[in-house]
Structures are given as C-alpha cells and as structure tokens.
Amino acid sequence: MSPNDPVPAPPGPKFRPSTGPLLRSELAIMFRRRRTWAMLLALAAIPVLIAIAVKLESKDNHGSGPAFLDRITQNGLFVVLTAMVLCVPVFLPLTVGVAAGDTIAGEANMGTLRYLLAAPAGRFRLLAVKYLGAAAFCAAATAAVVLAGTIVGLILFPVGPVPLLSGTTVNGWEAEGRILMVGAYVVLSLLGFAAIGLFISTLTDMPVGAMAATVVMAIASQVLGALPQLSWLHPWLFTHYWMGFADLLRDPIVWGSFGSNALLQLGYIAVFGALAYGRFATKDVLS
C-alpha cells in the first residue's frame, strides 16, 4: 500500500459485517468473570438454604413465614416458589443492579470504553449489546434460582400432584411447566429495571456508584409501592407487578398481570433505553 493509495486495504474473505461477534464476546466476558459466577452461586444458594432449613425444622408452622413456605414439606416444587418470594424483591435486584450498573461505567472505569469506541464499536451498537448482556444476566440469575430450587426440592421432598392456588391439582410435569412460566415472568419483570441500570451507567465513570444507584431505585420503587397514599402512582412503578407471578399458579391461568407487566416493562425499556442513548450518543468519553 503506497502512502498515496486512497483505497482501503481489501478485507480478507467475504463476510457480512455483523454485531454477532461483539455480542458473543460480551456474553463470554460476562460469564467468564468470577464476579458473575459468585452472584449466580449466591442466588442458587437461597433455595438450597430454604430447603435445608425447612427439612431440619419441619414442625407444624402453618401460616407463618414467606408465602408457600408451609407447603414445601408436602411438595418439593414449592421450594422454587418460596425462593422467588424472597429473591424477587431483594436478591435479584441486588445482582441485576450490579450487572446493569456496570455495563458502561465499568468499561469507562477500565478505560476500555475508549478503545471499543475507537475500534469502532458504534455507540448505539455498543449500548444495545450491553443491554442484551444485562438482559442475559437477568435470565441467568433467574435460572440459577429455578434450577437450584427444582433440584434441591426433588432431592429433599416428595414430588407429586401440586394443588394450585385455585384449589385444582395438576400433575408434577405441568407444575414444573408452571414454574418455568414463573421464571419467564420474573425475567420479564427485571428487564425494565435493567434498562434503568443501563441509563444510570451512562451517567458516571464509577461502576460502584452506578450499581448502588441502580439498586436504590429498586428499593425506592418498592417503598413507594408500599405507601397506600400513593396508590395513583403504583401502576407506573416498575416493581408494581413483580410479585404478580402467583397469578400463573391459578387455574385457569390469570394472564392479566403478565400482560400488564409486559407492557409496563416495555415502556420502561423504551424510555430508559432512549434516555441512555440520548446521554451516551453525545457523551464526551474522557476516561
């Protein structure tokens, strides 16, 4: 190539430019980090701890403790549901807040953001890949609870036909299907929250700050959701339908909260995705 040659170097074999490699690389990095596995293991430990505690102390304590807790001894599949009642308001937002808050701020803090953008990754593409990575973490985090809960439930407790909340009974396979639907519901519930984390992550170069702020949002939203004086606000809070997964355990299934939740989460993704892009597209990358 002579210095005056205006033609760029021809690429090697023909291929279509695609975002696939960057997305694969994003997922590979996330699931190669020890931090990710530490969080997933901590989540998986929750149903295990619940199951062991119930097994060791299986006295008659109907009605006390988290929902579904008293049913575990009768059916192991309730381990997952009890764990979800604990994980959805606290432990899942905590871990998803870490993953989503780290997306852009973490790269900025390491200095790799400038090299990704100079590659050039493209700001919109990078943001989209980062969001998909955070969404993948939401799925992995929920899967960790469902998987660990199912396994430990099968090992420690009898499994058989499951009485649903409406009183009818379904067989074990259908019950496991319902549990997978609960998992899908929980993943969906976290997507709007992940978009909030992505936006907060574009505001700072300090990942710890972005993570903390994201987690605080989840807590604040649930506190507001608990104040009856603010009932007009409740349908707009992204945490409003978080505990609505119980509707999937009725017969026939009540899809209302699933649909409202999906719509609400999509709205949050659109609004905070747009805010994140608006901020990131014009951000001066000085890290």
């Binding site: 205006p6 690429p11 960057l22 690389s25 790799t112 953008l117 100079a118 590659a119 050039p120 001066d284």
Partner: protein, 328 residues
C-alpha cells in the same frame, strides 16, 4: 469493500480547521489548524496538559469539538467515523485492558468490536500482532499480571490488528525500558516505510527528533509551530559563543555587530576567561569569521569561538515557554 462517495483524496492524513474544545470556562484546545501530510511520521509535541490528548480524542470522535472541523483520511470526523476508524490504529492516553482476561483474549475482544473485522482471520491477526510487539510468550497471561511496558506493547498490538493507513499513537513509549523504546522506534520506522502515516504525540523531544519527519508544537492548547523538522530548526536563531578574558571589550564588539548578548548566565572558563553568549541577528547576520576578525582587531584575546544553530530542544523550550512544567 467499496465505500460510497468520492474516493478519499490523497491530501493530508489529518487536517483540522479552527478545532476548539472548551471544558466550562477552560479552553483545552483553541483554534487548532493542524495539517499532517500523508506518509509522514508526525511528532505532536507539547508539555503535559497542553491539549495533545484532547486533540487526539476529538480526532477519534471520543469527544465532540466545541467548534471547528476535523478530517481524518480525507473524511469529515466524527460524521464519517464508521468508515474512517477501521483504517486507523490507535493508542489513546495509555493502554487499557480487561485485567481478568489474557493478552490474547483482550485483543480478540477489542477486534470483535469492529464489525468490519473478519472473524475468520481474527485468530491469525491477533497472533501476528502479538509477535510483532514481542508478546507471544506472555499472550496467555492475564493482563493484571502485566508490567506497564507489557501493557504498552499490548496496546500497540491492538493498534496493529489490521493493516492501517494511519496510526495515532499517544505517548507510545511511556513506561517502556530503553530496549522497548528502541523496539517501538524501529517498529514505527518499518510501518512508516510501508506507507502508513504515523501521528505520534510525545512530551519527549528526543524521541520525536529521532523518528519524525514532521512535527507540531503545542502550548496551552494552541499550536505554536508546525512543519518539517528542518523548517522547525530553521525557525530558531544561531548563537555565538566566545571564550575570552576580555569580557567587556568583547561584548562591545558583539553589540556593535548587531548581536544580542545573552548575559543571563555567564559561564566562567579556565584561567580568568569567560564564555560569552550572544544571539546572531535574524537578518543580515555577520559570518562567523567576520565576528572573529572584528574581535581580534579590537584586541580581544579570543581563546575559543563557535556559532551553533539552536538545538531543537532549546527551540521547544522557547516555544512552549514553560518547558516541561505542567501547563495551567
């Protein structure tokens, strides 16, 4: 790969017109008119804080200029960023990597960010880049175990993942030992011989003097000089040095000839003599032999005499004023 629009002209590799960046009330870069000829090795000199890295960040579209225009490889930046940056290799403000990944995995990661980089040749391109900077032995090690010099080499490897038309290297020898510095120098020279334009920023003049064909000097966010190294040197004045015990008479003669005595720091010489310095006038400067003849005929005992062109280093310090102090 065909890029729509007119073919890039073979003009300057980098050109800026009135490029300005302000942060609040502070002007980091003011009204910069830079022209980097294609095929040159261009030294971008200036003390720390003089706006070099800010300029580079604007050229790469990492930050938005407050006003002015920039074009890289003949295309407007940052509007044509997507078609320009794949042809530009960069090292910006030091290397930065994922500490928990190996050197090789880091390069693959950054390469995958460019969607025009072929995934099928990625492995071999990463390998070639690692060999080129002498890191193949440490390629499997995690970057958190790398020394600063190794990170710097990995940063250079990242800039070389693809054949580039332009390399923008910000302080490339920072943290390298003398051997590494020499290797970078010869790497730059071999790349330049292959036709790559190289834009290298530095606060070390000696480095620029050894590898560059052109240079620009920054001071407090403004360009104070640019051109070939020859042109920059020619902009400096020559200085006469006289070793004599008759200081008073000698100074009178020198002043009479139009020289400007530099009485700032007289250096005592042997047996009562003194080194006197005087700047030659920029126009109609007397020849050195005329000065000696005039001194001798005034009965000045001349024990030593020389006329030296100003070193580029003096010129640099003179232009940047602050020398190597951090600019405010």
């Amino acid at each position: 790969m065909s890029i729509p629009g007119p073919a890039a002209p073979s003009g300057p590799a980098i050109e800026t017109r009135g490029l300005t960046k302000t942060f609040g009330a502070q002007t980091a870069v003011g009204n910069l008119d830079l022209s980097v000829p294609a095929g040159s090795v261009f030294g971008f000199l200036g003390p720390n804080g003089s706006g070099k890295t800010t300029t580079i960040r604007m050229l790469l579209g990492l930050i938005t200029a407050s006003s002015g225009e920039a074009s890289v490889l003949g295309r407007e930046m940052p509007a044509r960023l997507d078609s320009v940056l794949p042809r530009v290799g960069t090292l910006v403000e030091g290397p930065a990597f994922y500490p928990f990944l190996s050197g090789r995995a880091n390069l693959a990661r950054l390469d995958s960010a460019d969607r025009h980089a072929s995934p099928s040749t990625r492995k071999s391109r990463v390998q070639v880049a690692l060999e080129r900077v002498g890191l193949e032995a440490a390629a499997r090690k995690k970057v958190k175990a790398y020394s600063l010099g190794m990170k710097q080499r990995l940063g250079l490897a990242n800039a070389l993942l693809q054949p580039r038309e332009l390399l923008i290297l910000d302080e490339p020898t920072n943290g390298l030992d003398p051997q590494g510095t020499r290797e970078v120098r010869s790497l730059v020279q071999s790349l330049a011989a292959g036709g790559t334009t190289i834009f290298v920023s530095s606060h070390l003049l000696a480095e620029v003097e050894q590898i560059c064909t052109h240079a620009a000097i920054m001071r407090n966010g403004s360009l104070v000089a640019q051109g070939t190294l020859g042109e920059l040197r020619a902009g400096g004045r020559a200085r006469a040095t006289v070793l004599t015990p008759d200081a008073g008479a000698a100074l009178a003669v020198l002043s009479h000839l139009g020289l400007v005595p530099d009485t700032g720091h007289p250096v005592p010489g042997p047996s009562g003599a003194q080194h006197l310095n005087a700047w030659l006038p920029e126009v109609a400067a007397p020849e050195p032999e005329e000065i000696v003849a005039a001194l001798v005929s005034a009965r000045v005992r001349v024990r030593g005499f020389s006329v030296d062109a100003e070193s580029l280093e003096n010129r640099f310090v003179e232009l940047t004023g602050s020398g190597f102090n951090v600019a405010q």
